[in-house]
Amino acid sequence: MNISWYLTVSAIIFTIGAAGILTKRNPLVILLCLELMLNAANLSLISFSRMWGNEDGQIFAIIVMVVAACEVVIGLGLIVAIHRRGLPVDADELSELRG
């Protein structure tokens, strides 16, 4: 199969993720969208790996997964902490760091 199909799917998923991040206000959904973007990138990495016939891209994909797992742990932890303190679980309301 032509590699461009894989890349097209990857680009579509990536754009969906990016659009979600820009439009959604719930941090939980933002995290989900972030996951979508990371995995879209993984898909294209693996496609390229297949195209060149070596494993470099797959190793990259695994590293990205590790990073994604870490990010999810921290992100979920933050969301739980925000919730416990009784703060609004809303990315727009949490804007105390404005200049």
Binding site: L22, I30, D92, S95, L97, R98, G99
Partner: protein, 669 residues
């Protein structure tokens, strides 16, 4: 072990003690810390004794050993080693410093028993002894300056030991600033000598000096005078003396150790150490002699009127150091150092005994409130009498031989030195008067409330703790030896320390008696053999006249004090009223503090205010920095508005930014 090893161990033990006590401060209990501190100094003293024995085994002409541990710096013609000079002079100082320090550590174990800063105190005290030993053992100017500055720092820490007392911290700062002034003098003097001789090593400089300098060479005189500034600042000589009386804010063992026995004699040591240079600069010697005389007379007159027990002894210290400076500046080094040693014994003894009285008075130090302690504190009284007789120069106590040795040596010099000779005897008379004025006022007369309470078997405790210097209320955690009070003679450790010193103060005179015993002279011969007036025979008639005059003046002084303060107690006030002008001058310490304040402090403070109000506010803030500051403010305000705090706005900026970059490269391609 070799001589060098012993000498290095002298330095190692107090340093180890300092570090150990400093690190273990949170876990050590009081008594253990005292034991560690005392043991460290005792071991240093033992090594000092061993070094002396080893040194005496060497032939006389090779008793100057330099030992270098490593190279400090070797660049641009400067070769500074971490080296010590072991010779009779440095070892004599080591024995005095370590020996007296051991006794004072022992005294402090009991004296500060209830103080909260007990471990800290011993860490500081060990640090002081280490610094002082570095100072006296230093084999070159660099290490001398290091020791000199460390001693100043240790003195600051110990004067301000009760740091919650405002007066104590102020006194510490004053002492430190004046001492640093002296440090600057020594550094500048060293630079001059380095420039002329190309070396910082003592022995090299001393050997080079006669070839490089003519007698009274301008550079050499300047260098010697700068070194003297250091000596005067450390030894509290006019006009750098005002810190010493204030330093009495420190705990009494500190006064005994630093401000009587060891640190303040560093100036005397310095001049004796530098004697090959001073012999080539007679002008500097004259300056030293005059300053010594002025100090001894001014301090004695203040001692006559001051009413604080410890400050009387402090002024007498200044006065006695005046004798020593006078002696070493006139080239009679052995006498000066002999007096340094006996003075260390009897002055430390007097301070320790004063600590005992202050303990019984619950921290009160004013002679006006004391009286009648003779019966209730017999040991303290005996110590005061022994110390007082030695200080007044009464035979056969040690002070008699050492003070007469100085005055005889100066009398033998003749010429203009007769001024010093006469002034020295006038000072001796005043010494006897103020010493026994202090003793009679504290121990004779009607017993004060505290003495009565002690007689009834209980120790007087002040209802509220007040700072003896300015009368302000203070919290009980600080100040006079902790919240509980001790009387020296009721504690074994303190009594032992005082007993040993009393014995030494009584008998140390036998080390050097004209025409009979020459232990000091023989021991110090290798250091001073090249000096002009070394080993000059004293004329017998002068000797007998001097000794007789010294005794008569001492007795006269004691008789005057007896008449004024015991026989006719009111007559002192009548004399004060009669000579109101002189009394006011003496009681205000010759207005030295005010003069320094007027001549130095106020102009500098005014300059500082001018700098702050005019130069900084108007010129710097208004003129120079105004433009850049407002530019930064405007531009940052513009950038700041982008920082909205909205997460999604940031994400959008990143996304579209990355998209734009991508687009740019795609279109390029």
């Amino acid at each position: 072990m070799s001589l060098q090893t012993h000498a290095w161990l002298v330095l190692a033990f107090p340093l180890a003690g300092t570090i150990l006590l400093g690190l273990l401060r949170p876990v050590l209990s009081g008594k253990k810390a005292g034991a560690i501190g005392t043991l460290a100094i005792l071991l240093a003293f033992a090594n000092g004794v061993a070094a002396v024995i080893k040194l005496q085994e060497l032939p006389s002409e090779s008793r100057e050993v330099v030992s270098s541990l490593w190279t400090y710096a070797n660049t641009g013609g400067l070769d500074a080693q971490l080296s010590i000079l072991i010779d009779p002079l440095s070892l004599l100082m080591v024995l005095i410093v370590a020996g007296v320090s051991t006794l004072i550590h022992l005294y402090s174990v009991a004296y500060l028993a209830s103080d909260e800063g007990y471990v800290r105190f011993f860490a500081y005290l060990n640090f002081f002894v280490f610094s002082m030993l570095v100072l006296v053992l230093a084999g070159n100017f660099v290490l001398l300056i290091v020791g000199w500055a460390l001693v100043g720092a240790a003195s600051y820490l110990l004067i301000s030991f009760w740091y919650r007392r405002n007066t104590a911290t102020k006194a510490g700062i004053k002492a430190f600033v004046i001492n640093v002034l002296g440090d600057v003098g020594i550094v500048l003097g060293t630079i001059l000598l380095l420039g002329a001789t190309g070396s910082v090593d003592f022995l090299t400089v001393f050997n080079e000096a006669p070839q490089v300098f003519n007698s009274n060479d301008g550079t050499l005189v300047a260098a010697c005078l700068l070194l003297m500034v250091g000596a005067f600042a450390k030894s509290a000589q006019v006009p750098f003396h005002t810190w010493l009386p204030d330093a009495m804010e420190g705990p009494t063992p500190v006064s005994a150790l630093i401000h009587a026995a060891t640190m303040v004699t560093a100036g005397v040591y310095l001049i004796a150490r530098m004697h090959p240079l001073f012999e080539l600069a007679p002008t500097a010697q004259v300056v030293g002699g005059i300053i010594g005389l002025l100090t001894l007379l001014i301090a004695a007159t203040i001692g006559l009127v001051v009413t604080d027990l410890k400050r009387v002894i402090a002024y007498s210290t200044m006065s006695q150091i005046g004798y020593m400076i006078m002696a070493v500046s006139s080239g009679i080094y052995v006498s000066g150092l002999f007096h340094l040693m006996t003075h260390a014994f009897f002055k430390a003894l007097l301070f320790m005994a004063a600590g005992s009285v202050i303990g019984a008075m619950a921290g009160e130090q004013s002679l006006n409130r004391m009286g009648g302690f003779r019966k209730v504190m017999p040991i303290t009284y005996a110590c005061f009498i022994i110390g007082g007789l030695a200080l007044s120069g009464m035979p056969p106590f040690s002070g008699f031989f050492s003070k007469d040795d100085i005055l005889l040596g100066i009398g033998e010099l003749g010429g203009w030195h007769w001024i010093l000779y006469v002034g020295g005897y006038i000072g001796a008379l005043m010494t006897a008067i103020y010493t026994f004025r202090m003793i009679f006022r504290a121990f004779h007369g009607d017993p004060c409330e505290e003495a009565k309470s002690l007689e009834a078997g209980r120790l007087y405790h002040a209802p509220e703790h007040r700072n003896p210097a300015d009368g302000t209320l203070e919290d009980t955690g600080v100040g006079f030896p902790g919240s509980k009070h001790h009387i020296a003679e009721r504690s074994v450790a303190m009594t032992i320390a005082m007993g040993v010193l009393a014995f030494l103060a009584t008998t140390a005179g036998v080390l050097q008696i004209p025409k009979i015993s020459h232990v000091m002279e023989n021991f110090l011969e290798p250091t001073f053999v090249g000096a002009k007036h070394f080993g000059v025979e004293i004329d017998t008639s002068l000797l007998l006249f001097g000794m007789g005059l010294g005794t008569v003046l001492g007795l006269l002084g004691i008789w005057i004090a007896w008449t004024l303060y015991v026989k006719r107690p009111g007559s002192a006030a009548a004399i004060e009223a009669r000579f109101a002008g002189a009394h006011k001058l003496f009681a205000n310490k010759w207005y030295f503090d005010e003069a320094i304040d007027f001549a130095i402090v106020r102009p500098f403070a005014a300059l500082g205010r001018f700098g702050q109000r005019t130069v900084e506010r108007v010129v710097v803030d208004g003129g120079i920095t105004a433009g850049p500051v407002s530019l930064a403010r405007v531009s940052s305000a513009a950038v700041r508005s982008w920082q909205s705090g909205l997460l999604r706005a940031y994400a959008a900026a990143i996304t579209f930014g990355a998209a734009l970059v991508l687009l740019y490269f795609l279109l390029q391609g």
